[in-house]
Amino acid sequence: MEHPKKSQSCELYPSKKEIHNYHGVVHSVISYGKEDDQQLNGTLSLIQESEKVVIEWRPNDVSIDTECQEDTEWALVNTNTRTRTSSGSVDGALSKLHVNIMLNDVKTIKVSNKKNKLTFTLKDNKQKVFFFHFGNVNQFFEELRTTVTLKRSHHDSNLYFVHDKNAIVQSFSDLTLVDRGGDTVWNLVGDLKRRPYETTLSTFSKLTELLLYRNPEARPEGAMVEILSSLSSTDGCPEVDDSYHFICPVLGPRKLEPRGIPLSQDHWETAKDTEGKIINPDHIKQIIFKGGITPSLRPELWKYLLCLYPWNSTKKEREDILNEKTEEYKRMRAQWSTMSADQESRFTFFRDKKSLVEKDVNRTDRTMPFYAGANNPNLELLSDILMTYIMYNFDLGYVQGMSDLLSPILAVLGNEVEAFWCFVGFMNIMYHNFDEDQSGMKKQLSQLHTLLTAVAPDLATYLDSHDSGSMCFCFRWLLVWFKREFPLEDVNVLWEVLWTGLPCTNFHLLICVAILEKEKNKLMSAGNGLSEVLKHVNDLSYNMDLNDILMRATGIYNQLDQSSNLTASTQRVLGLAHDLISVQQSQSEPEEIVGEEKIDVSMENGYEKSIEYNYF
């Protein structure tokens, strides 16, 4: 059954046919010395357009953090099924980055030694360079071969001359000319010898065709062969440096370090000075990151982790903060609790949110002893805090999933005011998960795809080609930070680990990667499409070993942190972009020369400014 939009576009562009497309192709957008030099991830497609074949590259809607807001489709990287509209008609800034190459205009194609890069040299000698993240350059190349005739250079086994179908026909007609004994062609060869670069390559390629396709006895004289050989050696394609270190990252071995022990009462007591300030918060966070917190200490520690109390506050200051926050809470609580039914009747937004809170409170963790049973007073607390949060953050109000985020906090703290402010702290981290346009979730799903590509490129490729590149099957994991995937005690540990903000930004995405990678073989088993992937992922709920996952995620982080060949986008997601500067400074290699064009690594630093992470 066709998607309506899709069928519509087919009607609009009946002559256009996408032959094949390839995900994870990075295009170097290089304009010498300009600030917008960048490496963009995207999809390379072969398109049959009437009689012509076009190579089209489109950036992923998702890989560019600053621009992903532009798209209105949720399909994200899932471009396999994307509607094809007229070239370059996509809205917004992304469309400017599109690359369209008429195959007719291509002079040569060079494949890198590592088979991960294609360099197209056009007839005007401009170059377009594409890196294949997933090493599927061969597949693309084979597809290309079915469309055009590619002739390998005698002098460079990685260099191919392009002949479109028309050119072949033309070359055979030339052959007839020669057979008739006409001199035209051989005069042209003479011209080529005298003015090798000026003479058009299309003419040249016809002759190469003639030279190579003919039976040996029918070939022109040896002198002509020599002339042609000498010409093909100066093919006008500059040598291209293959050492693209940021593509196809190869990670070092993974070390799995055992988890640590939870922060103990004794340790915590010695962590404070005489005034009650925490002497070394970073050390405490390290312990929590490695082993979590002893359950009895949670009510106290969570108030620091969730920013109710600053780590350097004294006991007295904390008392003052609590008093102040209690008053503030009471004030906001009164704002909704004093609203009359009459008032509510003219307040649709409030009424809708209140109704949602009621519905969700009644179905949040009702199997937990803390919320079990009819008329459980804790349900009222849960409801009151969520209602007060509507007043605290009226623009956001209440969105499904928020009750899941509050429930463990209230159960651990047991105190309405403290639970409210800790929930506020948590929501400050999670706010973007509940964006009206879901842009925060979309961004994270795309970042997850970026990380998965770095860690398990085969799995990322597999998902892309099986209708699952949008990663939407991880939506639940991300929205409520695995609340639905682990039993409550595990959720407590996982959240306090994540609240430390260690060891990098977006560590929760590495947890996703760790799970997906662990399940890789099952996910990639024959014929799995989105429904099978979704089913498998959903069925993992309550069937995972948190400690194992945390060890793996930490191991993956260390691999990525120590890798010197990460893509810039991977570094940005993890907040490792600063490493680029230090690597560059220590190696004193500011630039890499790529053909005629230059990529300045330092340009990547500009991204740092635009990174917005919601961690504290």
Binding site: H3, W74, D360, Q400, C472, R476
Partner: protein, 215 residues
């Protein structure tokens, strides 16, 4: 029954406001279970059930998602390939009924134009809390020309029936499509065949007054 033995998989979506009983009807239909309390659905999920549709094994794949409007952005993945939609409201909640027009519009915008729809008014067992009368649902269904049933997950009323109606209509739609495709290949040598096709299929599948509610 192994999937390979099934003749076809019918993808069906359950849509409707939050808390109308979407997850509940999926559990009731696929697992024959009912719980008094459910957790709200986050993201997307589905369950499958193999049914015998007049002797033919068919895999019913029932997709379930969150009801809140904000999460409609997931729809591209959700709607893709959907053949049937079970649109649901809660007879004890007027708002969920009022929002049906929103849902129908959403379906029109996202689903295939020939997707099969049925309307379900859930919780028809809750007599004392009823806010939406049966004829309201009936009238709306007639306006949109879609089959309608009042159902109860709790008391297992009309659950199998409504899904079977969906499955029959999907089969009808598919065979109609296949036949018209064949007609297309035959390059219209006899125009009467195409015209006559739909009535023949309707006759064959014995879909007589499927919208009549027996609740």
């Amino acid at each position: 029954m192994a999937p390979a033995e099934c003749e076809a998989t019918y993808k069906v979506l359950v849509l409707g406001d939050s808390n109308v009983g979407k997850t509940c009807i999926v559990h009731r239909y696929c697992d024959q279970t009912y719980y008094d309390t459910y957790i709200s659905t986050i993201g997307i999920d589905f369950k499958q059930k193999i049914i015998s549709l007049d002797g033919t094994p068919i895999k019913m794949q029932i997709w379930d998602t969150a009801g809140q409007e904000r999460f409609r952005t997931l729809t591209t993945a959700y709607y893709r390939g959907a053949m049937g939609i079970l649109l649901m409201y809660d007879v004890t909640n007027q708002e969920s009924f009022n929002n049906l027009t929103y849902w129908l519009k959403n379906i029109e915008e996202n689903a295939s134009p020939d997707v099969i729809k049925v309307l379900a008014g859930n919780k028809c067992d809750a007599v004392s809390q009823r806010m939406v009368e049966q004829d309201m649902g009936q009238k709306l269904a007639e306006n949109y020309d879609i089959p309608f049933y009042e159902v109860s997950c709790k008391q297992n009323i009309n659950i199998d029936k409504i899904f079977l109606t969906l499955a029959r209509h999907i089969r009808e739609q598919r065979s109609y499509q296949q036949l018209t495709e064949r007609e297309h290949y035959d390059s219209g040598q006899n125009g009467n065949i195409t015209l006559d096709l739909k009535s023949r299929i309707l006759e064959h599948t014995s879909l007589k007054e499927p919208w009549k509610c027996t609740c």
